[in-house]
């Protein structure tokens, strides 16, 4: 305790604050900002290092220090010494268990910069938290315990930082006090790390011997390491180049967040400039439409700007009435990004529920949100050994490379060139959870060459000729619930009154179009996807389509719904209890499933997710098929 309390605060120039506050404010106003992360486990002294940085920069106040001393004695792991870890572990569960679970953000200043530190947990099960903290960082401090050297987790953290695109890596060999500040120990660790770093593509890093606990080479050059001539940790943090200056040198891109239209005389496009800069008079192009115009004004509350640069949130006015809305990207006219709908991507899976190949997820990239399906991964990376392994899916914390396809073209750039237009998240359509972070590597050639054929006879024309509104009546329910029976009756009745219909039946489709598919979860999803696409083409032809598929998963039914125009998808839930369906057992399938002869049978060893808000629900224990069919037809033509 005594040692720590006596440490000289070195960052905040107290004298300047006391003597000339205006000069101090002027200095502070011109500071730049660096965001960095610290990686390492509790044992590596990560929290102690952050506590030290906060303490040395006077970001810990007396009342907080008093509380800290108190807590240190009660639950600390440093005996009578101050346990800085308690300062940064914010959640009750973390303090009790002595581990860091979630990313915590901390702030401190030096004379040159303001810093935001993301304190990330080190355990493998918190990879997703580390990726979160790393995604906004300009720099990573990788901590190594000098007594232990390069460990499996050092490799994992380095790989993740490199993957997310952090180019400034500091290898902080910590706890040098516990190895008597031995240069040989330090050199051996650096050599070991350099070998590994080269192997995964880290081109350079800065290594330094430190002690977070004793304060060596943190803010002042340590007398204990005369053999080290490099910068202190803080000196390095103060001078390293920040990401936004790198972005400013790239071509101009601004994803449109919001169209500002207070009255008929003003129309501005609001967004955060991702890269480059723009000024009035510049020729721009709106993507994906490709329309061009000229910038007339860069508007802010404080008056118009002469130019807007990367990192600024601005509102831009254009010379022409071009069509431009949220999701579009405004770019330099002669150097625009591309649009594509198929990509190779690197994914980090963040959710307890594993990725399901073929399932549609929301993909959010910059201000664009589209529906996307991911293929089975090409490989996953063992984050401890960097080996590429074959895999059918991505589990929580898995990192893999997979192809993905979107339902609409995305304006994009490779993540390596542009974080904003290359980084995305996947969102589960049902739970709304953020399930994956992704980085686009490149678009697949086939997407660029297959253009949607614009047809002269429109879907409206098809429907008008048939004098009907196209629909998809999607019958879902357990095997034997009565889907096919009722769908057949509905089709007969529609046919009788002159409607043009087509019935897609589960069994029939599996004899032809989908005969290559089995009954695993992935195959079931693909089965529904194909049927959905066929149904969509049929509605384009103006037909009323009836489908009778178990379609057990809510997500796939929602995917099909999203393919159709608003109001065209009618979900019909044939609600028959399992025991009733099983007692009917028209095809003898339940018997086979019960005996184990038939695997993955819905209701027995594979789940059925009942619709939550189907347009039509038929309770077959209370309503006859005839009545139900009559009701559906009445609803349709009424």
């Amino acid at each position: 305790m005594s040692e720590v309390a006596n440490a000289e605060p070195v960052y905040v120039t107290d004298a300047l604050i006391a003597e000339d506050i205006d000069a101090y404010l002027d200095q502070h106003q011109h500071k730049t900002m660096l965001r960095f992360i610290t990686c390492g486990s509790v044992d590596d002294g990560k929290s102690t290092l952050i506590g030290r940085l906060l303490y040395d920069s006077k970001m810990i106040f007396e009342d907080q220090l008093a509380a800290l001393e108190n807590d240190s004695k009660k639950v600390g792991t440093q005996g009578q010494e101050i346990d800085f870890a308690l300062l940064v572990d914010g959640l009750a569960a973390e303090r009790e268990q002595g581990i860091t679970i979630d990313v915590a953000y901390r702030f401190f200043n030096t004379e040159k910069r303001k810093f935001i530190v993301a304190d990330c947990p080190g355990h493998e099960q918190y990879t997703r938290n580390m990726i979160t903290g790393a995604s906004t960082a300009d720099l990573a401090v990788i901590l190594i315990d000098a007594r232990k050297g390069v460990l499996v987790q050092t490799r994992r953290h380095s790989y993740l930082c490199h993957l997310i695109g952090i180019r400034n890596i500091v290898l902080a060999v910590n706890k040098m006090d516990l190895v008597d500040y031995d240069q040989q120990v330090f050199d051996a660790i650096v050599k070991d790390y350099a070998e590994f770093a080269r192997g995964i593509g880290i081109e350079n890093f800065t290594a330094m011997p430190i002690s977070g606990f004793k304060g060596d080479n943190i803010t002042t050059r340590s007398a204990n390491t005369p053999w080290y001539s490099g910068p202190t940790l803080v000196e390095h943090l103060e001078t390293v180049e920040v990401l936004s200056s790198v972005d400013a040198d790239k071509p101009f891109r601004m994803p449109v967040q919001w169209v500002n239209r207070p009255n008929l005389d003003f129309r501005g496009f609001s967004g955060l400039v991702a890269t480059g800069s723009v000024k009035p008079g510049d020729d721009i192009r709106v993507l994906p439409s490709g329309k061009t115009s000229k910038v007339t004004r860069v508007v802010t509350l404080d008056g118009d700007l002469e130019q807007a640069v990367a990192g600024q949130s601005v509102t831009i006015c254009l010379a022409d009435e071009v069509d431009c809305s949220r999701g579009d990207v405004i770019s330099l006219a002669d150097n625009p990004p591309q649009a594509a709908d198929q990509f190779e991507s690197t994914l980090v899976w963040l959710n307890d529920e594993a990725m399901i190949p073929g399932r549609a997820y929301w993909l959010k990239l910059a201000t664009q949100t589209v529906s996307a399906t991911v293929q089975q991964p090409k490989y996953v990376v063992n984050v401890n050994t960097m080996e590429h392994l074959a895999a059918k899916t991505l589990e929580l914390n898995a990192i893999g490379v997979a192809e993905l396809a979107t339902d609409k073209p995305l304006v994009f750039e490779a993540y390596a060139d542009n974080r904003t237009l290359g980084g995305f998240v996947l969102i589960d359509k049902i739970t709304n959870a953020t399930v994956a972070a992704g980085m686009l590597n490149f678009s697949l050639r086939r997407a660029q060459n297959v253009h949607w054929q614009a047809l002269d006879v429109s879907r409206e024309a098809h429907a008008a000729l048939k004098n009907q509104r196209p629909k998809v009546l999607w019958f879902t329910g357990l095997s034997g619930s009565g889907k096919s029976t009722i769908a057949n009756l509905v089709e007969k009745k529609l046919h009788a009154i002159g409607k043009h219909t087509f019935l897609l039946d589960g069994d029939n489709v599996r004899h032809g179009l989908n005969k290559d598919l089995g009954f695993t979860e992935a195959d079931r999803i693909e089965n529904i996807r194909r049927v959905g696409e066929v149904a969509k083409l049929m509605t384009d032809a103006g037909l009323i389509v009836l489908t009778a598929f178990i379609s057990p998963f809510r997500a796939e039914r929602e995917m099909v719904r999203s393919l159709m125009a608003d109001g065209e998808f009618v979900e019909v839930f044939i609600d028959t209890p399992l025991e009733v369906a099983e007692s009917r057992d028209v095809k003898g399938l339940y018997k086979k499933a019960r005996s184990g002869e038939l695997k993955n049978f819905t209701g027995i060893d594979s789940p059925y997710e009942a619709p939550e808000s189907a347009e039509v629900r038929v309770d077959t224990t209370a309503e006859s098929p005839e009545d139900a069919a009559e009701r559906i037809v009445a609803m349709l033509i009424g």
Binding site: A92, I101, K114, L272, G311, W362, T434
Partner: protein, 324 residues
């Protein structure tokens, strides 16, 4: 009325050159980056939420947040209302500024007072923690439910308190307004997933990454109007339980032997006047206030009684129950 000579109506035209005009190089200053981030967050919410609202507590953080909102949507007024969850126990000067700012910004001001707390006469003198619970926590939940707001901007900062440091910028609450700290959505880059499940709502913190010093400096640079109580002046006070309390109106029950004393004081944070401790100070200008803030040895929430409830996890527990 305002002691630092800041004319309210012209707050948009700062006496300093606009921060972005200072740009003579390609690297933004930290305040420019923080401002840009906050504006980006607000625009995302407006683009993706159906019925957003800004919680306005009239404090300095709220003042900055409101100013940022005006910048984000200029020349449109911010396309959402201000909501003040009132306890009826705020300082008089706060009510005055609140009404003025609503006018200046061209936004609707909704004031909500928990009718049950009103009826039962809940007050900070007789009811202690129950006062905060009923007026603020319950009042906020009732107001959000009443108007059906699905996203609410709040002026909380991560440097304020330990559990706040771990909270996301888009923080989801269950239908009963609870917070589950162990089950927060990962928030990568500046991509915010604003998709809600039925009944869920979002609390959004656009100034999460600002520190107290950043707030002061921004107010200074942009001439953001703030309550005069932040500046030192002679005010009637009594000392109680180690806190300097200001006798703001006649509802303040004096204990036997207590006599209000005029002291030169100011406030580092503003809440309900009977719960907010003042500091003795001579700082009458913003630079002086900032100077004192930097030289002080205690954190700003130190004057708040609320953080000391329920042991070390006071704020975390309150947040789980629906406190902002």
């Amino acid at each position: 009325m305002l002691r630092c000579g800041i004319p309210l109506a012209s707050s948009a035209t700062a006496k300093f050159p606009a921060m972005s005009q200072l740009l003579d190089r390609q690297t933004l200053t930290h305040l420019e980056r923080l401002e840009s981030e906050a504006i980006h967050i607000m625009r995302e919410v407006v683009a993706e939420a159906t019925n957003p609202v800004m919680l306005y507590s009239v404090g300095k953080d709220s003042a900055v947040m409101l100013h940022l909102a005006r910048k984000a949507f200029y020349p449109s007024p911010p396309p959402f209302p201000l909501l003040h969850v009132d306890t009826t126990w705020k300082f008089k000067a706060m009510y005055e500024l609140r009404d003025k700012m609503a006018q200046t910004s061209g936004m609707d001001l909704l004031v909500y007072q928990n009718p049950e707390a009103q009826e039962r006469g809940i007050n900070p003198f007789d009811h202690g923690a129950l006062h905060t619970d009923m007026w603020k926590t319950e009042g906020l939940k009732q107001a959000l439910d009443k108007y059906g707001f699905d996203a609410a901007f709040g002026g909380a900062r991560r440097d304020e308190e330990k559990s706040r440091a771990k909270e996301r910028i888009f923080s989801f609450r269950t239908a009963s307004h609870g917070w589950d700290p162990k089950n927060q959505r990962p928030e990568l880059w500046n991509l915010y997933n604003a998709r809600k499940n039925k009944g869920e709502s979002i609390r959004v913190f656009p100034i999460s990454n600002w520190t107290e010093l950043d707030i002061w400096q921004y107010i200074h640079l942009n001439n953001v109007p703030i309550v005069p109580l932040y500046f030192a002046d002679k005010r009637p006070t009594v000392e109680r339980d180690g806190m300097l309390l200001m006798v703001d109106d006649e509802r303040f029950p004096l204990l036997p032997g207590e006599e209000p004393v005029m002291r030169s004081i100011r406030f580092r944070t503003l809440g309900c006047y009977p719960l907010t401790g003042a500091v003795e100070s001579e700082a009458k200008t913003l630079p002086q206030v900032i100077q004192e803030t930097l030289l002080t040895t205690t954190s700003e929430r130190q004057g708040r009684a609320i953080d000391k409830d329920a042991g070390g996890a006071g704020m975390e527990v309150k947040k789980q129950q629906g406190y902002f």
